[in-house]
């Protein structure tokens, strides 16, 4: 699958990422950078939209613009937690008003497929429209669907695929209560060296316009993707080797691995074991200390990988080890959250 266009919104800007100017936060929940949504969405519409719809719609449109595509054949979205803000709003109304005097606006925008539906509505796209919500494997589920589409004889030429998740005022801080987030003083830049449980979270969106055939706009390729709900560390090593082999890559031919270390001492061993063993001679990058961990943060990781392949440049602040810099041609993204929903995604240069 060739990437012809992409866009991302996260807690860091693209400029800061490559200018070695990434920002640190002192909270365990921090927002995505603000974007001028008005450039892409009418003010009337904008007022009714939650952040996830805004971020999703704007990144989708920017990815389409970059690829020079008006309407894709299919729209596939991954979102672990969907429209939390509208869900929260409607739920609080139910609880506060004891199930009376309710207006439906927040309810109708609360379904997990709202972003996919709103993109279709905006583009007047009547094609295939799907939404996956499998925790940290939501975006990858969408990628696997896109890959299936291109193998089917349905005439699909280009697919818009993305991942999006937002922070909500009450429901996100709940993660302080069940041990998902770090307690105490936080310096996000340093969390990968932390010796405590939990992580930090944020929000974001990344969309890709994928094309079946290589065109003059293509700049990288998403070759393959696999998901595993549950896997042991031993089996993981075997699966990674098998996955690379299936894609005609030897482990020492892999240039970069983008790892999902999030500073949670309970689960980072999945990454650490690979860092010390299978990937000890591979350039390792980590990113969650800069953009937080959320269900579809791997869409950002794929955007990052594709951006590295496009620029042939490594953001220095993301390096987890110090190996000589090669011209990057192949990048593996590995991720899991709370030891579940593991994923492998392979990106390659053209």
């Amino acid at each position: 699958m060739y990437i012809n266009g992409m866009a991302s919104i996260a807690a860091q800007t693209e400029e800061d990422l490559f200018a070695e100017n990434l920002q640190s936060f002192s909270e365990n929940i921090f927002p995505a950078t603000s974007v001028n949504y008005k450039e892409y969405i009418k003010p009337m519409m904008l007022r009714r939209m939650s952040k996830t719809i805004k971020m999703g719609l704007v990144t989708a449109k920017r990815a389409l613009n970059e690829a020079g595509v008006d309407v894709p054949d299919s729209i596939i979205v991954g979102t672990g937690e969907g429209c939390k803000q509208d869900t929260e709003k409607f739920l609080e109304n139910i609880l506060d008003e004891n199930e009376s005097f309710l207006t439906p606006t927040a309810f109708i925008q609360s379904t997990h497929n709202t972003v996919g539906g709103q993109i279709a509505l905006d583009l007047k796209c009547t094609g295939y429209n799907m939404t996956y919500t499998q925790n940290s494997a939501s975006f990858e589920s969408a990628l696997i669907d896109a890959k299936l589409q291109f193998t089917e004889e349905m005439g699909t030429r280009c697919v818009l695929v993305g991942g999006v998740d937002e922070i909500a005022r009450i429901s996100t801080p709940f993660y302080n209560l069940d041990g998902q987030l770090k307690a105490g003083e936080i310096n996000t830049a340093k969390i990968l060296q932390s010796s405590s449980e939990g992580t930090i979270t944020s929000e974001g969106a990344a969309f890709f316009l994928l094309s079946e055939i290589r065109t003059q706009d293509s700049f990288a390729e998403i070759s393959d993707c696999m998901i595993y709900r549950n896997i042991s560390e031993e089996k993981l090593q075997e699966e990674i080797s098998w996955f690379l082999k299936k894609n005609d890559l030897k482990i020492d031919e892999l240039d970069v691995v983008i790892l999902g270390n999030n500073g949670d001492t309970r689960y980072d061993h999945y990454y650490q074991q690979l860092q010390e063993d299978l990937f000890k001679n591979t350039l390792q990058l980590g990113y969650k200390n800069w953009v937080g961990d959320y269900n579809t943060v791997t869409a950002y990781a794929c955007w990052l990988g594709a951006e590295i392949l496009k620029r042939k440049e490594i953001p220095q602040q993301l390096k987890l080890n110090n190996l000589p810099l090669k011209q990057p041609t192949s990048i593996l993204v590995y991720n899991q959250y709370l030891g579940k929903n593991h994923s492998l995604t392979l990106l390659r240069s053209l």
Binding site: I75, G80, E81, G82, T87, F90, L91, I94, L95, E99, S100, L102, T103, P104, F107, I108, S110, T111, H112, N113, T114, G116, G117, Q118, A120, L121, L123, K124, C125, T126, Y128, N129, M130, T131, Y132, T133, Q134, N135, A137, S138, S141, I144, D145, L148, E152, M154, I170, S171, F174, Y175, L177, D178, Q180, I227, Y228, R229, N230, N295, K340, N341
Partner: protein, 393 residues
């Protein structure tokens, strides 16, 4: 179609029965499952719902769950239905099986109960993550030890139909040989109040396709199909084939359907194309038929656009209520039962046709030859899906 997709097992739990046999018996005896809330704690005691009259602790006991389990009601219903599907398909080894679950409100039943208590009551905090559909899928997959390809589709009321479609595609592409597909959703105050605030919730029992229809009634259910490639299904009883599918977007409005049912029309057209069938091959249509003014008129118009001669059709939501993300799965089971028993289940509570479209559903149990069944499921966000199930020849 490159590889055929056989259905080798199914399981169901709905307001009209806790297994296949009970559901079938209710369908042939015209016994609906709508009642007033007893388990769901709501002020709307006047609104009929398709409620399963088992408490969460009854369901957890039936599954021998630990006292501190974190199963949502959707996970409890789903696990019971999935157990039946796996027994039915005689599957005991889960190493390479995939699982695609359709779910819309996840553990909203738990979220709405504990939202204001999480701060003060640590015991309930195990349900914090339960709000989202993936968690319910995790619980079900974890119960059976399904570890590899596991995903959740959440496209509101077409979720399970989309899960069936994805399962069929995964098998056809050769990516999987065995996959469990379907969906689960439980009743919640969130959805009941949501549809009620949209003024499309009926205070009477649902009357799909009737000129006097007053809106939908929600239900809760879970149902799953076991899909297998031809090689894997070789020595098994095949209940039917998933022969066609199509998904399209209405691209008209977040919740309402377009006047001429464009999304529905395109979905049915694609399903016929993938099945390589003409409209006249369809013997029965299990319609989406929610009994809202908007859906039934829009769906009728789309049906008329596709079918020059209208096949027999009915909406079994008059039995179960609208079970949201599970609807596509329970209606897939009813479609396959229709094929197995060569009979069409009635559309209850129908009196007079919509004057505009004049479509009359089947209102009595009818025995007839059935080779191909089309099943429709449409959801919020303009999401429209049609599936075609065909008899084993």
């Amino acid at each position: 179609m490159s590889r055929s997709v056989a259905v080798t097992g199914m399981g169901i739990f709905s307001a009209i029965g806790k297994n296949l046999e009970e559901n079938h018996r209710s369908l042939i005896h015209g016994k609906h499952g709508l009642s007033y809330p007893e388990i769901l704690e709501t002020v709307h005691q006047n609104l009929p719902i398709g409620e399963i009259k088992s408490t969460n602790s009854d369901l957890a006991d039936a599954l021998n769950l630990d006292k501190n389990h974190a199963f949502t009601r959707a996970a409890l219903l789903g696990t019971i239905a999935l157990k039946e599907a796996l027994q039915n398909a005689k599957i005991e080894d889960f190493i390479n099986i995939g699982f695609v679950n359709g779910n819309s409100v996840g553990g909203m039943d738990m979220t709405e109960r504990f939202y204001r208590e999480y701060e003060s009551n640590p015991a309930n905090r195990r349900f914090i993550q339960a709000q989202h559909p993936g968690f319910t899928t995790e619980q079900i997959a974890g119960y059976f030890g399904i570890d590899n390809y596991v995903t959740t589709i959440s496209t509101a009321c077409s979720s399970a139909a989309n899960a069936v479609m994805l399962g069929a595609r995964l098998i056809q592409s050769g990516r999987l040989d065995q996959v469990i597909v379907g969906g689960t959703d439980c009743l919640s105050r969130f959805t009941l109040n949501g549809f009620n605030s949209l003024m499309i919730y009926s205070e009477d029992f649902p009357k799909p396709f009737d000129s006097e229809r007053k809106g939908l009634n929600l239900g809760e259910a879970a149902a799953y199909l076991v899909l297998e490639s031809a090689d894997f299904a070789k020595n098994k009883e095949v209940l039917g084939y998933v022969s066609g599918y199509g998904n399209a977007n209405d691209a008209f409005h977040q919740t309402a359907s377009s006047e001429n049912g464009e999304g529905a029309y395109l979905a049915m057209q694609k399903a016929l194309e993938t099945a390589n069938l003409n409209p006249h091959h369809i013997d029965y249509i299990n319609a989406h038929g929610t009994a809202t003014q908007n859906n039934d008129l829009s769906e009728s118009r789309a049906l008329i656009r596709i079918f020059k001669e209208m096949p027999a059709f009915s909406s079994t939501k008059s039995f179960t209520g609208h079970t949201l993300a599970a609807a596509g799965a329970i209606e897939a089971v009813f479609s396959l039962l229709a094929i197995k028993h060569q009979q069409i289940y009635p559309n209850l509570n129908f009196n007079s046709a919509i004057s505009d479209t004049r479509l009359r559903p089947v209102t009595e149990l009818k025995s007839t030859k059935i080779q191909h069944v089309l099943s429709n499921s449409f959801g919020f966000g303009g999401n429209c899906t049609s599936l075609i199930f065909s008899k084993d020849e």
